[in-house]
Amino acid sequence: MGKKILIADDEPNIVVSLEFLMKQKGYEVRVVNDGEAALAAVGDFGPDLILLDVMMPRVSGYDVCQKIRENPAWQGIRIIMLSAKGRDIEVTRGMAVGADAYVTKPFSTKDLIDKVRTMLGE
């Protein structure tokens, strides 16, 4: 039984690449394009890991992350933040709201896959 991964990003081409990579590794994938949809999907899709973009319309990645961490039922969900913003302050903020890792764009696909696997305990 494959683990579930939620991809939350508003950049269509990046979503296409992430979806391809995760499906290729055998994960079950759901794609959302903004923060609101991401929170909704956490409830009904029940992902093991979220690839969460920071700069999203409506609700930002930071806020999504914080909301997830506020819910005790969702403590097990691993969160990898993805962002084109790579300043220290932004990385620190991402970790502070409860992300498990912070990956700056552009990223190495191999590193990202390794990180996902490690986090899912494979």
Binding site: E11, N13, S17, S108, T109
Partner: protein, 924 residues
């Protein structure tokens, strides 16, 4: 019944109260708790201006002239407005130089000239003695009238009682005694008399209350209010003409104006006014309140003048009662015993106040500026050998007081009957007005010389003698009346009331005109022609620049010679008494920072100090003589003084320069701080911009890298997928390129380094080109593009390529945001005043009002940007707006959500734009 045995005790009791107040005031002053150190007492004491002349005389004048009495009180009111400038300066100068009288002031200004001081004193005494006589006359008359109560019987004219039975004589003696007691109690270096001022302020209150009481009684007690009096007056044959405006009995406008000027000068230069306003002033800030309080007092004092005058004429119609006595005779005729007595006291207070202060002022002048200089020069007096002269000084003062009061009495006996009260007062006013040019010129014009002041004063005084005083003698019968009618020695041209043939003016206007012409003319002409001595130059600067002086190093005393401290101390002791001299020297040593008075060097500063101290006691001119006789002085050459002054002015210039430099430094610091803040703000904006640009660059790069790696790692991908991924890589590369180009473009536009090829262009052709260029975009999404481009429109002045850039941006935005297949876009060109307008109208989703500004900001896109299409860079609209604005036009959007959007811009037509565009080209 009001017998003399009632009036005399009441009067004496009133004087007793004055004694008590003055005594109390002096006691308080000695204990350092001044009762006069407040602006209200100061303002009230200025009320010494209102004498018996005001109290009785203005009603007399109003009965004869209507509002003709008013200028005498309008003048001071106007002058008060100038006081803050003029009197404040005079007070400051007087305090700094220990000046104690008007004569001292004028002589000090012109190099401490003893001659000038003497001349001023003589003019003041001759000018003011008639005025004192007037007060004595007023009191003795009112006493005689009141003693007849309840019959209104005027004293018989020209039958004077023997001196020992004359109330005026005894009154004169009582006043002289009072003045001696409180005016010369001790020799005060500052010549201030606190108790006396308190008593004068009290007298001002008494006379005001008395006059208001009569006014109220006549207006509402005898008649039925003001309307009643004025109605009756209008119906009265003698009074009706008085209600006419100026030009009638009240005198011409010219005489009104001259009387106003005359009393403006009198309020400043009457010796008693100078004494109260300047010498007795405790704190120059009191002026601030006096400026409005004193005019208020004058107003209250004049409120009932006309009602009482009219009431009197109506009441005594034809009964031969002198209008000058109405204030007293009206209450008497109505059997108001108490009120009549109060009026008498009011008149008494008005007269005594004036006589006392005037006499003190004159006695100071006579002693310091007339008697002392003569005594000091008389070797036979051996004054220089007497150890203590304070007793002598006090003796001279006291003698001068008695002499002045008795002079007044003498004048009253000899000439007082010939003239109405007002006429005598005005003659005095005209005399003291002669001090105005030398004083006011002296404090504002450094070039005025001693010779000029002497010439002006002498000329003005001679004209005054000839046109006012001698005619008054002629009218009294002491001079042949031919002097008046045919001129002196029968020279018609010199007739006193028609000098040089000038006729048609009243005597006062005529005299003022000629005396002022002579006075100012001689003063200015001789000042310009003569040279100042060293002492004059020093004093001129000290007076004119009094507000600029701050003491200390800048207060240079041009003096050279040898002096010794014991000599100077002995000199001070002789005039001030040993204790006061010792105290003064200790005080001086303390201020100069020497521990013991014996350490004080006998330099120019000490000599100046001694002279100033002495000036307070014996006047500036006498002090100069005494100091010169005590120390050995070397004559200063003009060159030496110039060197001293040059050094002082160099120090001033240097410190001025320093002040300017430090101000410039503060200004520069502020500018730098502001510039730094601006730079920091710009730096922050640049940081934000770079952060945003980086983010925008990383996004396409992310896709490119991800798909390149996927394609690299998965050679087994099928052709369709491979094709799809490669297309994305190409699209994102194009996006990256576009972004880089636009960022560079925007940077160039914003820094003003962009190249502009501005020319006359046909906007219609440009739009058609842009439509062709973007045609593929519209066809690909099946969006209709309609153009409405009228022909025969004027050219615009613009850069063709840049306008194409804007149009492509607007058209491709429209193509992107409308719905595929259902989209409809219109490009319309139209004419506006002085401009052409382009509208790009779409039927897309529209833009919310909140976003309509946001879309013109860099990297900002409206609403949900998640579309199927490659996203814009977020720079297109900001760049377009920059371009249009640079070309002298404007770019804006109108839209309602759901109703599509219209992007519009205007460009000026070629003719109108030629100038602006040329300037723009020049700039770039």
């Amino acid at each position: 019944m009001l017998h003399t045995w009632v009036i005399i005790p009441v009067s004496l009791a009133y004087l007793g109260v004055l004694f008590a107040i003055a005594y109390w005031g002096d006691q308080r002053a000695d204990r350092g708790r001044s009762i006069i150190a407040n602006p209200y007492i100061y303002s009230l004491s200025l009320g010494v201006y209102a004498t018996a002349w005001t109290f009785y005389g203005s009603v007399g004048r109003a009965a004869a002239d209507g509002v003709g009495f008013l200028p005498i009180y309008l003048g001071p009111t106007l002058m008060m407005a100038l006081w803050w400038l003029v009197i404040r300066k005079i007070i400051r100068i007087s305090k700094a130089n220990r000046i104690t009288s008007l004569a001292d002031f004028i002589s000090s200004r012109y190099g401490k000239s003893a001659l000038l001081a003497g001349l001023v004193t003589i003019i003041a005494v001759i000018g003011v003695v008639p005025y004192i006589a007037l007060q004595l006359k007023a009191i003795s008359h009112s006493f005689t009238i009141l003693a007849q109560y309840p019959d209104v019987v005027l004293p018989a004219q020209r039958v004077a009682p023997p001196v020992q039975a004359d109330t005026a004589f005894w009154l004169a003696l009582v006043l002289a005694t009072f003045t001696i007691l409180f005016g010369t109690r001790h020799l005060d270096a500052s010549e201030r008399h606190e108790g006396l001022v308190a008593a004068i302020a009290f007298e001002s209150l008494v006379k005001l209350v008395a006059f208001l009481a009569v006014g109220v009684f006549v207006t509402w007690g005898i008649y039925h209010g003001l309307p009643d009096i004025f109605e009756r007056a209008a119906a009265h044959a003698k009074l009706a003409p008085l209600l006419a405006p100026l030009g009638g009995p009240a005198g011409s406008y010219a005489s009104w104006a001259w009387l106003t000027v005359l009393s403006m000068l009198a309020i400043m230069f009457l010796p008693r006014q100078f004494q109260i306003a300047v010498v007795e002033n405790v704190n120059e800030n009191h002026l601030g309140k006096a400026i409005w309080l004193f005019p208020l007092y004058m107003l209250a004092m004049n409120l009932f003048v006309v009602p009482v005058a009219f009431g009197g004429v109506l009441h005594f119609s034809g009964a031969g009662v002198d209008p000058d006595t109405f204030v007293l005779t009206l209450p008497m005729a109505e059997k108001q015993e108490a009120l009549a007595l109060l009026v008498f006291l009011g008149g008494l207070s008005a007269a005594t106040g004036m006589v006392i202060v005037e006499t003190i002022a004159l006695s100071t002048m006579v002693c310091n500026d007339l008697v002392m200089p003569v005594l000091l020069r008389m070797k036979s007096m051996r004054l220089a050998e007497r150890r203590n002269l304070t007793g002598l000084l006090l003796g001279i003062r006291r003698g001068a007081i008695v002499a002045v009061v008795l002079l007044g009495y003498l004048y009253f006996r000899l000439a007082g009957e010939a003239y109405a009260l007002v006429a005598i007062g005005l003659i005095s006013f005209a005399a003291v007005a002669q001090f105005a040019p030398a004083t006011i010129g002296g404090i504002y014009w450094k070039g005025a010389t001693r010779a000029g002041a002497l010439a002006g004063l002498a000329a003005g005084f001679v004209v005054w003698l000839h046109t006012l005083l001698l005619p008054s003698f002629a009218k009294s019968g002491w001079l042949p009346i031919g002097y008046l009618q045919d001129g002196p020695f029968g020279i018609a041209l010199l007739r006193p009331y028609a000098l040089f043939g000038l006729e048609g003016l009243n005597d006062i206007t005529h005299a003022m005109l000629w005396s002022m012409v002579a006075n100012i003319g001689c003063y200015v002409a001789v000042s310009v022609l003569s040279r100042q001595s060293v002492a004059e130059q020093t004093q001129a600067a000290r007076f004119v620049d009094v507000f600029r002086r701050t003491g200390g190093a800048l207060d240079a005393h041009p003096w050279k010679g040898t002096a010794s401290l014991p000599d100077l101390k002995a000199l001070l002791a002789r005039f001030l008494g040993p204790e006061r001299a010792e105290a003064a020297v200790i005080d001086y040593a303390g201020r100069r920072g020497y521990g013991s008075p014996d350490d004080v060097p006998a330099d120019a500063g000490l000599v100046h100090f001694a002279e100033t101290e002495l000036a307070g006691a014996i006047g500036g001119a006498s002090a100069r003589i005494m100091v010169a006789s005590t120390v050995h002085e070397d004559a200063l050459s003009v060159d030496e003084v110039r060197t001293m002054l040059d050094e002082a002015s160099q120090v001033i210039a240097y410190s001025h320069e320093l002040t300017q430099k430090s101000q410039a430094l503060i200004a520069a610091t502020n500018e730098l701080r502001a510039a730094n803040e601006r730079l920091q703000e710009l730096d922050r904006l640049k940081d934000d911009f770079i952060s945003t640009v980086t983010h925008e660059l990383r996004t396409p790069l992310t896709s490119i890298r991800a798909f390149s790696e996927i394609l690299h790692d998965n050679p087994e991908l099928d052709a369709a997928e491979r094709e799809k991924f490669l297309t994305i890589v190409i699209q994102e590369s194009e996006r990256l390129t576009r972004l880089i180009n636009q960022v560079l473009d925007l940077a160039k536009l914003e820094s003003g380094r962009a190249e502009w090829q501005v020319a006359r262009i046909d906007l219609k052709a440009v739009i058609e080109d842009s439509i062709v260029t973007t045609g593929q975009l519209f066809r690909a999404r099946n969006v209709a593009l309609e153009s409405r481009l009228p022909a025969d429109l004027p050219f615009v002045h613009a850069d063709r390529d840049r306008v194409v850039q804007v149009l492509i941006n607007l058209l491709s935005n429209a193509a992107k945001f409308v719905l595929a297949d259902a989209g409809h876009v219109v490009v319309a060109l139209s004419r506006r005043p002085g401009a052409l307008r382009v509208d790009v109208i779409d039927n897309g989703p529209g833009i919310a009002a909140a976003d309509q500004q946001v879309i013109f900001e860099k990297f900002r896109q409206a609403g949900d940007t998640m579309t199927e299409k490659p996203r814009g860079t977020g720079l297109g609209l900001p760049i377009s707006r920059q371009i249009i604005e640079h070309l002298g036009g404007r770019l804006w959007v109108t839209s309602r959500p759901g109703k599509g959007a219209t992007f519009s811009f205007e460009l000026p037509v070629a003719d109108a734009a030629a100038v602006a565009a040329a300037a723009a080209t020049h700039r770039t």
